[in-house]
Symmetry: C2
Subunit: 432 residues, 2 copies
């Protein structure tokens, strides 16, 4: 596939740029509307329905389906869904196919967002999508509704400039990126493949060269509750959980010590992150707690598999319990609660990357840099499981998963141009 | 008050014993009914209404009032109620006053129970009050509905045996014993005092000689959430909370090292208990948690005051935060969330204790033993604040605050006789 491609002519680039600029107020309003949908996990459906309607309005062929409509759990890479019903997790694939001979492309973005956390810690309301000083503020504005707006408005700009892509394009909005990846996987199982894939996650205009994998697990610890007056005869599930958390912190330090020899992440300090994201336990201040649950996330590096990482987690837990007088006979329950995500590398040298690099340099007037990502994104399924070159490249923002998450709107504009030009370069354009 | 009392005649004792035995099936049914009310904190009202009706049926003068009906928060010993509304916390005081010249007595028990915890960890349903092998099983069966049934049926037995107490009796069922003590305090503020008080908590037929105090506090810790990919730039509220818990564990060890010189508790190993009873934090496995709350309980010994203990807690927290790079500039919020309970000593030598000791020896054929309690009970208000000799003495059971809590029904029967005889001894009886 690495044949030389003719560069997109300058005048086409300028027509696309003008179309994006002309339409940018609408794009910002569109992005605001998206952010105003509080599309937490399991609550994405209203936004997906709205997006499907937007795609239909544009004349795209729209396929809406849920995770229950594919035989999801038969796939070896499907991750456990915890308590989220498959039926309610809707995917949208809009197809533009003018029957041209150009290469095909998947443009994909996720619409699920992580919880906003305590609202009083935000300076602005997290779902109002306030625009101030060139930023749009809100949960999901950066991660990754800005990128979704960019891929949609890139195609709009191509049409507005008087062109159509010369290859088949699947424009996809998916769920579950923040928890399992099953949304992306389901689109592939539904049959949507292409010659390349671009996912405009907020990479700050870098190419995500390599990314970690991640495992989600829940520890369900029991205790023997007694009145605090006799606390030495009971065992606190909360203190047992703290013991296990410390064991996983130590284990993570060991993993990171070994990581210095990793081909991709050797230069990154502590690339493997262990996170205790949620904790809940106990019912009464004066009773030793009978139960405690902790939701954890542990990364893994290219060169290792989720199965190996899960085995390591099991071993760490077993070791931590072995010498504990209570846990050795009352082991914590280990629940695989989401991500079983492969690490993934965007192998250098693909034609898709060459096309993106050329385009990026024209838009930003500097070379495309890559970066190692200590987070997970959906490109792994395309690259690892379906052999589709998959690029993760998108706008700049600050505070993914944090308070006061925001995206730089000028960056969104430039990313939209990058994507439009990438479509032109990769698929080719034909005049309308 | 330590004048010599004539012993209750043997034939009176036997008539009381027979009356209790004759009525014991009804007492067990009554206790079952009480246990079947799930009278968790804030949910005691249906049980209190039912009890008030039972007292009215017996012809007692019944006063029902809520914590909002006394000027509770004006009292220096009132403890914070957290989110529980004063209006919904109902107290019941039934008075029997035949105008006799005997000593007056308060018989008091609490009807609030602690949460049952995960039901799957119980062998039997926690609110069915199953009777098996001489035990009644259920949350609150032991702590302390058995004692409440004993004080009610002791008075029933006196009547059934053809007598009436010769002194005024207040039969009281209160709330809030497990969280603040405000129920007991409100009865005193309402004007109910007497020459002695007996609280039949499940002491296993011992006299609670000295008891600790307790402080409840909540630590509300914040964090700076970020995507786990950048966890080194955020701070986990859960890990910060764990840091503070460890600091309080160390502080408790210091307090216990000093406790060996305590007059009452010097011989008890680690009499000061620190408990983390409830923990909640975070919203997402892959975000560093922005918030974590822990509900804690710390004991204090006779010779110290709640104010001193609270100052110690503040100092421990300040010290733990001082050297932490995040907490030093983002200190946890410290919330006084319930108990600010005085430690209390049942001073030896009272006439009330002498009466109880004499009675106990006749019922159980062995001397009354005392014990040091590392838990709190309501006697402290009577003893510390109102100068009323207050005895804590009641039945035997296992598992207060634990799974499979149960009370020994034969012990309930004997305790009922002890209480009936104590009323006879303390107040005197007159023939009906």
């Amino acid at each position: 596939m690495a044949e030389t491609m003719a560069a997109v002519p300058n005048d086409v680039m300028e027509r696309l740029r003008a179309a994006i600029d002309d339409n940018f107020n609408d794009q910002v309003a569109f992005l605001q509307k998206m952010v105003q949908f509080r599309s937490l996990r399991g609550e994405e459906e209203p936004l997906q329905q709205w997006l499907a309607a937007q795609f239909e309005k544009r004349g795209y062929k729209v396929d809406q389906f849920s995770l229950a409509d594919v035989d999801l759990m038969s796939h070896p890479k499907a991750a456990p869904m915890d308590t989220i019903p498959l039926e309610g997790s809707r995917q949208v694939v809009a197809t533009l196919d003018g029957g041209g001979k150009g290469r095909s492309l998947i443009l994909q973005g996720h619409v699920d967002v992580v919880p906003e956390g305590p609202v009083d810690l935000w300076a602005d309301a997290p779902f109002e999508a306030i625009v101030r000083d060139g930023w749009m503020i809100g949960r999901g504005a950066q991660d990754m509704k800005a990128g979704v707006s960019a891929m949609i408005f890139a195609l709009d700009a191509i049409k507005r400039a008087g062109f159509a892509p010369d290859g088949r394009i699947h424009l996809e909005t998916v769920t579950e990126e923040e928890s399992t990846g099953n949304g992306a996987l389901s689109t592939l199982m539904r049959g949507y493949t292409a010659d390349a894939c671009l996912i405009p996650e907020p990479t700050g205009h870098t190419l995500s060269r390599a990314q970690v994998g991640a495992i989600w697990f829940r520890l369900r610890v029991r205790g023997t509750p007694v009145h605090v007056a006799y606390s030495e005869t009971g065992t606190s599930a909360i203190l047992s959980a703290m013991h296990l958390v410390r064991a996983f912190q130590d284990y993570t330090a060991e993993l990171n010590a070994r990581a210095i020899s990793n081909k991709w992440f050797g230069a990154i300090k502590n690339p493997i992150k262990f996170n205790v994201g949620i904790i809940k336990g106990g019912d009464w201040a004066s009773s030793t707690p009978a139960w405690c649950e902790v939701d954890c996330r542990l990364g893994l590096l290219p060169g290792s598999t989720p199965a190996e990482a899960m085995k390591g987690i099991e071993q760490c837990l077993a070791d931590a319990q072995k010498n504990d007088s209570f846990l050795s006979s009352n082991p914590a329950e280990l629940i695989w609660s989401g991500f079983q995500a492969d690490p993934s590398v965007c192998e250098p040298g693909s034609a898709a990357e060459a096309a993106l690099a050329a385009i990026h340099e024209r838009v930003f007037e500097k070379p495309l840099e890559d970066r190692m990502s200590t987070a997970v994104n959906d490109t792994r399924y395309y690259a690892v499981d379906y052999g589709i070159p998959a690029l993760c490249y998108g706008p700049y923002g600050v505070g993914p998963h944090a308070f006061d998450e925001r995206v730089d709107l000028d960056s969104v504009r430039k990313t939209t141009l990058s994507i439009a030009l990438f479509v032109a370069q990769w698929c080719g354009l034909k005049a309308l």
